[in-house]
């Protein structure tokens, strides 16, 4: 019987790729791999949802196949498409050849003329791949139905040639920022994980791992500041990605502690909305007091 080592193994695998996880993340990944089910990850933007797929592909030493979703995405871009130009060319070149209609049809609707798109590509690979279906909430609801056959039976039906069964089952990660609610049918086929903004300790650990050269005091102040900023009623709260960007920027300027003027001039790195910047500026002194930063007078 498999012991709980597997959870620690996954944590270590992720840590080797500089991704600091927790028990819930490790457990979800372990179960998704064990049950061969897709893992649906939801959470605010910039908390590391997509990153999980990237680090898992590195950790498993396999390819990452990514499908970036958007409104209007259809089967031709997600599953497969026939290479019409090539088919046309073939027919023109073989106009004089003594081939029957059926022979021509069989040839032009064969694998040579089939362009595999991410979903088909992921199941036709000889070895298991990591398939990232990113921001599925941006695609329209009709698109979700394309997934259902793939996610439940690991096969894709192509009308011209029949059903293609998976040669290997990919490790599927589906991410969503909750722009719209996903269908129950899709949810039921997935395991679910919610990733929230990190705790102060976890965020500090992440910053120090990503930027080993950063001054400890600066890293602590940055993480405290971010924790306080997230308490404000902002349009778009900054995620871990913004924390790392800010820490990188300040570190590259050889700054070893926060000052009001520096924070004010670099707010654009963590806040991406004009109104948010204005609101943060208004309560900057209060924020910095909480973090323990005093502004220089005069």
């Amino acid at each position: 019987m498999e012991k709980n080592k597997s959870i620690n193994n996954i944590k270590n695998l992720l840590l080797e790729q500089s991704y600091i996880s927790d028990d819930a993340i490790a457990m979800s990944i372990h179960l998704a791999m064990f049950l061969k089910k897709p893992l649906l990850i939801e959470g605010p933007a910039g908390v590391g949802k997509t990153e999980i797929a990237k680090v898992m592909s590195k950790a498993l030493n396999t390819n990452l196949i990514r499908l970036q979703c958007y409104e209007g995405l259809d089967a031709n871009q997600a599953i497969y498409e026939w290479n019409y130009q090539k088919q046309l060319l073939y027919l023109k070149m073989n106009e004089q050849a003594d081939l029957s209609y059926n022979e021509k049809e069989e040839t032009i609707f064969s694998d040579d003329f089939l362009m595999e798109r991410p979903l088909l590509k992921s199941i036709m690979a000889e070895e298991s791949q990591v398939l990232l279906i990113d921001e599925i909430d941006r695609a329209d609801e009709e698109f979700e139905s394309f997934f259902l056959e793939l996610l439940s039976d690991w096969q894709i039906t192509i009308p011209e040639v029949g059903t293609r069964k998976a040669k290997s089952i990919p490790f599927v990660i589906v991410t969503s920022n909750r722009v719209r609610e996903l269908s129950e049918a899709l949810r039921r086929r997935c395991l679910y994980l919610w990733i929230d903004y990190p705790t102060f300790e976890k965020e500090l650990e992440i910053v120090q791992m990503k930027l080993p050269e950063i001054n400890e005091k600066l890293a602590t102040q940055i993480c405290h500041f971010m924790e306080e900023v997230r308490q404000l009623k902002l349009e778009k709260l900054p995620g871990i990605a913004e924390t790392i960007d800010w820490a990188t920027a300040l570190s590259s300027m050889h700054i070893d502690h926060l000052e009001k003027e520096i924070v004010e001039s670099t707010l654009g790195v963590i806040l991406k909305d004009w109104q948010d910047i204005r609101d943060a500026q208004m309560s900057l002194s209060e924020l910095l007091d909480k973090v323990g930063v005093t502004s220089k007078m005069g």
Binding site: K3, D23, L35, R187, L191, Y192
Partner: protein, 391 residues
């Protein structure tokens, strides 16, 4: 939190897993046999090292959305607390007698208030700022004296409005008979059958997609004057657009879609009194809209949604809350239409603080207090007919 099924100490793993799943089902988790099988399969290969790890395991498999994700920890804790108290599964616990919810006097009062709101709320009519002259033609008659016979015409106008709003162009293409845009893929595909000779063109056009409509109506004291019209408006709108989601509010929000779907108008009126306990109450638009955002917006609002708010904008609540709620609705939806009955008065200016705060987040602001004004809403929507947001 509910525990319809008694929690008993179980002696084997499958019974225990099933009992826990039933407990979650009682608390509105959608758990099928598939999830139960997954759990049992995992337990045969994996031994959780701690209480926390076991919780994570259950959580990963049984939780399907954020609401459940947040609720799960509390339920899990409750389940184990109950279980530790439980006797052996063979010993039956005394069933708690469920107290029958008695029909309170409040409910009767509610019916009276609704009746008053519908039929007797004209006492302060003269004090209201509205509206067009009562001596004008039928089409200009205020809905406070609206006759049931005119309900048909109202329904027709609402049908036109809903048709105007119901569709939006998608980025998806469908086959078309109109010769606007050549479908190159299909044209080539068809030509393959004829030795790659293109002798017929096929065409495509952008697909129209259904728009989600959300109607939020103010039923506070200040709207009493328009009560008859408001109820008929909501009822007719729900009848015309089945997928419409209707809410009413005064100091808090209540969903009425299911009540208004009933074909019998009299029955609807009776049911309304049970559902809304505060007709003619105070007005807290901000708090009510915030409630909508917290409970429903994530499911109902997206870029295909149109939110129609019918209110006079008199708000006694926190204006910051109102602004944040409007901002959020405006951001999440495609369009916000505000129908203000007071706007029927030519001298009306949206100068109340609540209305001023809301205006930047409103795409269409117009009056809706009688048939004539509703017709102008139709014209307005015709001018603003949807065009794709891309070239």
């Amino acid at each position: 939190m509910k525990t319809k099924n008694l929690i008993q100490r179980q002696t084997n793993l499958p019974a225990h897993v099933i009992q826990f799943c039933r407990f979650l089902r009682d608390n509105n988790f959608v758990i099928g046999i598939g999830e139960e099988c997954d759990l049992l399969e995992v337990f045969t290969h994996f031994i959780p090292a701690s209480f926390g790890e076991q919780k994570d395991l259950y959580k990963s498999i049984l939780v399907k959305n954020r609401k459940q994700f947040v609720l799960f920890d509390e339920l899990y804790q409750q389940y184990w607390t109950e279980l530790s108290r439980a006797e052996d599964s063979k010993t039956k616990d005394k069933e708690e007698k469920k107290l029958q919810p008695q029909k309170s006097a409040d409910q009767k009062n509610t019916l009276q208030v609704l009746k008053k709101w519908l039929h007797g709320g004209h006492v302060d009519e003269e004090k209201e700022i509205s509206t067009y002259s009562a001596f004008e033609a039928i089409s200009n008659k205020d809905f406070t004296t609206f006759l049931t016979g005119e309900q048909k015409e109202l329904l027709e106008i609402i049908k036109i409005i809903s048709q105007r709003l119901a569709n939006k162009y998608s980025r998806r293409y469908i086959r078309s008979k109109s010769k606007k845009q050549i479908d190159l893929k299909k044209t080539i595909r068809q030509s393959l059958r004829k030795d790659a000779e293109i002798n017929q063109f096929f065409f495509k056009e952008q697909q129209k997609r259904k728009v989600n409509l959300v109607l939020i109506c103010d039923v506070s004291k200040s709207m009493e004057l328009y009560s008859q019209f408001l109820i008929e408006f909501m009822y007719s709108f729900q009848q015309a657009v089945h997928q419409l989601r209707t809410f009413v509010f005064s100091t808090r929000l209540v969903s009425l879609s299911n009540v208004l779907k009933d074909g019998d108008y009299e029955k609807v009126l009776n049911n309304l009194s049970d559902q809304v306990p505060y007709w003619s109450g105070g007005t807290r638009i901000g708090e009510s809209l915030q409630q909508f955002n917290e409970r429903y917006a994530s499911r109902m609002l997206n870029k295909d949604s149109i939110v129609i708010i019918m209110s006079d904008g008199w708000d006694t609540g926190d204006l910051d809350v109102l602004e944040n709620a409007m901002k959020s609705i405006h951001k999440k939806s495609d369009r916000v239409i505000w129908l203000n009955p007071l706007a029927g008065n030519p001298e009306y200016k949206p100068s109340t603080k609540g209305m001023e705060i809301c205006l930047p987040y409103i795409d269409v602001f117009t009056s809706a207090h009688n048939l004539e004004s509703l017709k102008s809403v139709v014209k307005h929507l015709k001018q603003k007919k949807y065009k794709p947001k891309f070239s």
